[in-house]
């Protein structure tokens, strides 16, 4: 019975998990067992000069060559869409993903594509000169390649694992759209803000580094250190109780592991789905956790924190203020 769904949605799952976990900002985010590899694929184009033709290595190992600034982008990644708006390249957008909701212009964008069930005909009809793909959902990559539509495929789980990787995406999209100056300015200002945070947490002795449980949904899915959300906690010198997730990017913790880890802080990214500090406090047995006993249960905006776009720095600052209220105002 339930196998029917798994069979039917199996291929869809692979990316669905990634998308919802990172792109959509859903409170229920979790991901399949995607091993975190130790050899991050270098994002070429980050350090190379913006001269065309530009070559970019895709997550599937293929190389994408772009010979001139793109003008008709189909962005299947809400994070990439936010970047494109932030660097002023929105005129090059032909369509955005259904879940894009920031800025307002993206939310109200007239042409939207469902990234979960991408309609290849709808994409082809737009005659795009670039499709930005954050994951290969249901063989869409092969189909687009078959139609000779250039695809910038940079997998959220494989290639965007740190905040630096997000900055790399900004630089890359700046080059691709020919908005290099604007992208450089944005990266510089974001880097400056990140540095302020880094300085602020400097000198926190390791025994004072708070342990954190980051809750994605009410069945205890969380993030491992090998994700860009996990990277935020590394920057903040906080210890993620899920650690490397035994190789899973978005693992599901057992309740007893959470209670035994005794986190000092609980971060709720699932407030949009009704999980509140009060409902966490009411969970049987959770009163034994320091964070619950001391009322250190904080909520974050799931959209901010789960999208690899410029607002990830907003999320970082927000977390810094909430975790270290005395150090950051």
């Amino acid at each position: 019975m339930h196998n029917t769904w798994i069979r039917r949605l199996g291929p869809l799952l692979a990316i669905g998990l990634i998308l919802a976990a990172t792109a959509c900002g859903g409170g229920s985010s979790k991901a399949a067992a995607t091993p975190v590899k130790d050899n991050p694929t270098p994002i070429t184009g980050v350090s190379t000069p913006p001269a065309f033709p530009l070559t970019v290595k895709r997550s599937d190992g293929a190389t994408l060559t772009i010979s001139e600034p793109v003008k008709k982008i189909v962005s299947m990644s809400p994070g990439a869409t936010e970047i494109i708006y932030a660097i002023g390249a929105q005129d090059a957008l032909a369509a955005v993903d259904k879940n894009a909701n920031y800025p307002d212009a993206a939310k109200n964008f007239p042409t939207k594509i469902d990234a979960y069930e991408p309609n290849i005909e709808a994409i082809a009809a737009l005659n795009p000169d670039l499709v930005i793909l954050p994951g290969d959902n249901g063989g869409i990559l092969a189909k687009l390649d078959g139609l000779k539509i250039p695809v910038l495929y940079q997998d959220l789980d494989k290639d965007i694992k740190t905040v630096d990787d997000v900055l790399g995406q900004i630089t890359l999209l700046g080059q691709v759209t020919g908005h290099t100056d604007k992208a450089r300015e944005l990266v510089q200002s974001l880097s400056k803000r990140i540095d302020v945070i880094k300085q602020g947490v400097q000198g926190i002795p390791s025994q004072d580094a708070p342990s954190v449980y980051h809750e994605l949904d009410s069945t205890y899915y969380t993030i491992s250190t090998g994700t860009f959300i996990g990277n935020l906690y590394e920057i903040l010198h906080a210890q993620n109780i899920a650690k490397d997730g035994a190789g899973v990017a978005y693992p599901q913790l057992t309740q007893e592991a959470i209670i035994a880890a005794n986190p000092k802080i609980i971060v709720l990214a699932d407030e949009a789905y009704g999980v509140t500090a009060d409902s966490v406090k009411a969970r049987p047995g959770w009163s034994a956790i320091d964070a619950v006993a001391n009322g250190k249960i904080i909520a974050v905006d799931a959209d901010l924190i789960s999208r690899p776009g410029p607002r990830i720095v907003d999320a970082l600052e927000d977390l810094a203020r909430k975790i270290y209220p005395t150090r950051f105002q």
Binding site: M1, H2, N3, T4, W5, I6, R8, L9, L13, G16, L17, L19, A20, A21, C24, G25, G26, G27, S28, S29, K30, K98, N99, D114, Y116, E117, D217, S218, T219, Y220, Y221, G245, A246, V248, P251, Q252, L253, T254, Q255, E256, A257, I259, A260, N262, Y273, G274, V275, D278, S279, K281, A282, R283, P284, G285, W286, S287, A288
Partner: protein, 365 residues
């Protein structure tokens, strides 16, 4: 039920059944099975990623009995043993028992070895109920009651009632039409869930997570919610085991022997569906247990429903408790979907028994 004197036929019903056994004669078997299941439960509570000594576990558990001193334990240990592990193990046992028991009952009524408790719409109906709640703004874990289990429960019962109503003709419900209407209702429900999953794609994962089932969020609350339905099914259906034995002959023959077949079907299917709906409501859809455990029991202890029904319950409980232990132990601290474990562990064992049975049959011939 007053309608038959089935003990006369129990002897003739299955020609290969060895000697006639009375209910009383079965008591030692039940007691042994109960003891074994209890032992599995105690083991499961003392087993976990956080190492807690068995005697500590036992003392924490016993400390909740009246007049037993609680002893000095850290809050974390008390919380893990009493608030997390004990209800989790108990719920897994209850759900496993219910699925296997109801699977056996369904197989008895349908006289079909492929019958399982999800056959006539419980699972897919529950999935529609759960999905509707997950995508709605009602999906709020209010600190005492989540609307999810009642919605899944209602969905399950609505689907079964629909299948039953559609199959009913001239006051009778033929098992064949019931299976067919069950399949039809299930398909409709499945497509509704699939459609909703794709439409509300930010909630796809919450829905799938529910469908895959598990006991990670188990608490005493779920235990209390589900227990009455499960007990009711057990208490009413077990005494009907002899009538189910008679049913195995042929429906018409059973009718001639004085069994009110329609009433038997309605009672057994109704209560089994009710209990299954309760199990699904608190644990999601866990496959394989309801189908395979009754067969394993039959292969080992024979086809008499007075054995098959209760032993399926005990065996199903032990099986799912152990499957859950494995699910939380593969990656210490992290969960593995329990459906993966039930199929991975259960299927090879089932195949082994099937092969052994086949060889034995061959040698006998």
């Amino acid at each position: 039920m007053q309608i038959a004197r089935p003990h006369r036929f129990a002897r003739t019903a299955s020609a290969d059944a060895p000697a006639f056994v009375t209910w009383r004669g079965l008591l030692p078997t039940y007691a042994l099975a109960a003891l074994a299941t209890f032992a599995v439960g105690v083991f499961a509570v003392s087993w976990g990623t956080v190492h807690i000594a068995p005697q500590t576990t036992l003392r924490v558990l016993l400390g909740h009995l009246p007049f037993v001193p609680a002893g000095e334990h850290s809050a974390a240990i008390r919380a893990i043993v009493w608030d997390v592990r004990a209800p989790r193990v108990l719920l897994a046992g209850m759900v496993g028992a219910t699925l296997a028991f109801c699977g056996a009952a369904y197989q008895g009524v349908f006289r079909n070895p492929l019958a399982e408790p999800y056959l006539i719409g419980v699972a897919s109906g529950a999935a529609v109920g759960a999905t509707l709640i997950i995508i709605s703004p009602l999906y709020v874990t209010v600190w005492l009651l989540s609307p999810l289990p009642p919605a899944a429960f209602a969905g399950a019962l609505a689907a079964v009632a629909l299948a039953y109503g559609l199959a009913r003709a001239h006051g009778r419900v033929s098992t064949t039409s019931l299976i067919l209407s069950g399949v039809a209702v299930s398909s409709v429900c499945t497509s509704i869930v699939t459609y909703l999953m794709l439409t509300y794609n930010t909630r796809t994962l919450a829905i799938l997570n529910w469908i895959m089932g598990g006991f990670n969020t188990a608490s005493w609350k779920e235990v209390a919610i589900a227990a009455p339905y499960m007990l009711l099914a057990a208490v009413v259906i077990v005494p009907l085991a002899r009538l189910l034995n008679v049913m195995q002959l042929d429906e018409d023959e059973a009718r001639h022997l004085g069994v009110d077949v329609e009433r038997l079907k309605l009672i057994v299917l109704g209560l089994a569906s009710l209990a299954t709906a309760a199990a699904v409501a608190v644990s999601g859809l866990i496959g394989f247990v309801g189908l395979v455990v009754p067969h394993i029991v039959r292969m080992i202890w024979g086809p008499d429903y007075r054995r098959v029904l209760p032993l399926s319950g005990f065996f199903g409980a032990a099986f799912l408790i152990l499957a859950d232990v494995i699910a939380r132990s593969i990656n210490p601290g992290y969960e593995v979907p329990i459906g993966v474990v039930t199929a991975l562990v259960g299927a090879p064992f089932f195949l082994y028994l099937l092969r052994r049975e086949g060889r034995r049959g061959h040698e006998a011939a």
